[in-house]
């Protein structure tokens, strides 16, 4: 299909595209779509894929030191799931014409971003609990509506991911529960982990709506279905009663129940810190990216060997057939 810039068929395409969106129908890979729709999706899906892959590191850090064989097996499963999530998402991005090798290169050289949350360290076992409960919990708030996003392959990847996330959150909460019901020292570990992860989790939803320039178009195109602040509110409303069950205190002095709105009022996170982490100056940015780059480079010989092996066998099969 060749369409020149000013051709009347362009607007016809646009009309058809808008109609599909208005009907709530999905846009599929071979449909016409505006360039910016494609670009926005490639950026968003790519960043999401990178977040899953980088997100393996803070938890991977504890696999060898999990306190029991059961916890070790669970944590390994979770980290393996996150790798899977990354791969579903790279596949979805590729249906838009993005190249996976390209995206990974951009991750490795810092040209593409991933979620700021994975730049925080995990010094304590309790962090595995807080991450599952809060970080996967926040991800679920973000991702459940994305199951209805307008781009078909992205929506289908999200359905698959959401099914698996529920286990992630529950295993994390169970770690927190076990620690909270343990000795005073263990309970303190859980509280400290909550203190470390609460604000970064709050910031996972991105800047405030009045500071979020890309959001409007994404909402119009039904790539996003809720604004950052709407999702953040939903998360706070869910998480506060969960903290109460644990008997832990959320480190926000402004947190209070608002009878009128039927929602919790919460305090303002340190946005200065958020933008510093985004700019690459968080506590672990350099380590995360250099680990990733190293893993990629160290795996190059394996990929080369696999390709050489496949080529040799394909040639042998051809000459046998000839």
């Amino acid at each position: 299909m060749t369409v020149t810039e000013n051709s009347p068929t362009l607007s016809e395409n646009e009309v058809k595209f808008e109609e599909l969106l208005a009907m709530g129908a999905k846009i599929e890979p071979r449909d016409w779509m505006p360039d910016d729709y494609r670009k926005t999706l490639i950026r968003q899906i790519g960043q999401h894929a990178h977040s899953e892959i980088i997100g393996m590191q803070p938890e991977g850090n504890w696999i060898t030191r999990a306190p029991s064989l059961k916890r070790k097996a669970i944590l390994m499963s979770k980290v393996q799931d996150e790798a899977g999530h990354g791969l579903y998402l790279y596949s979805a991005a590729e249906t838009l014409g993005a190249d996976r090798t390209d995206m990974l290169e951009k991750l490795n050289n810092g040209k593409m971003k991933y979620s700021s949350i994975f730049n925080y360290p995990t010094p304590c076992w309790a962090d595995m609990g807080a991450i599952g409960w809060l970080v996967d919990g926040a991800a679920i708030c973000n991702q459940v509506p994305l199951c209805r996003t307008s781009y078909g392959p992205y929506a289908r990847a999200m359905v698959r991911i959401c099914k698996e996330e529920s286990f992630h959150q529950r295993q994390g909460y169970e770690i927190m529960l076990t620690l909270s019901n343990g000795s005073a020292k263990q309970k303190q570990m859980a509280q400290d982990a909550l203190n470390r992860w609460w604000w970064p989790a709050i910031m996972m939803f991105g800047p405030r709506d009045d500071q979020s320039p890309n959001s409007e178009l994404s909402l119009k195109w039904k790539i996003k279905l809720f604004s950052n602040d709407e999702l953040r509110q939903k998360f706070v409303d869910i998480a506060v009663p969960q903290a109460n069950i644990l008997g832990l205190t959320i480190p926000d002095k402004d947190l209070s129940w608002n009878e009128k709105t039927g929602h919790y009022t919460y305090g303002e996170p340190d946005w200065e810190e958020f933008f510093e982490v985004i700019r690459g100056n968080g506590p672990c940015n350099k380590e995360r990216v250099s680990n990733r780059r190293e893993a990629h480079e160290n795996g190059q010989w394996v990929r080369d060997a696999a390709i050489a092996y496949a080529k040799k066998h394909a040639e042998a099969a051809l000459s046998k057939a000839a």
Binding site: D81, D99, A157, A306, Y309
Partner: protein
Amino acid sequence: MTHKKGYPLWEVFIRSNRGIDHKHAGSLRAADAEMALQNARDLYTRRSEGVSIWVVPSNQIVASDPDDKETLFDPAEDKVYRHPTFYSLPDELEHM
């Protein structure tokens, strides 16, 4: 579709249970068919979602063009007599 330096792309189809068709699950990259099957197992059946897997090189799939929708699918549209509801038969008629 040739790939810069990576593995080629494969489409994965999974039969979730005996008696059910294979259904498209997604895609993945792998150097050859054997690796594609193994990766599909790890990627798409981590929770026993399948009893059988097909992998097909993505570039071997021939797809219809969404812009051909009219010419391709319209011929079926005016053939309402292909549906059982087209025929008005007496109410007392049973088992038909």
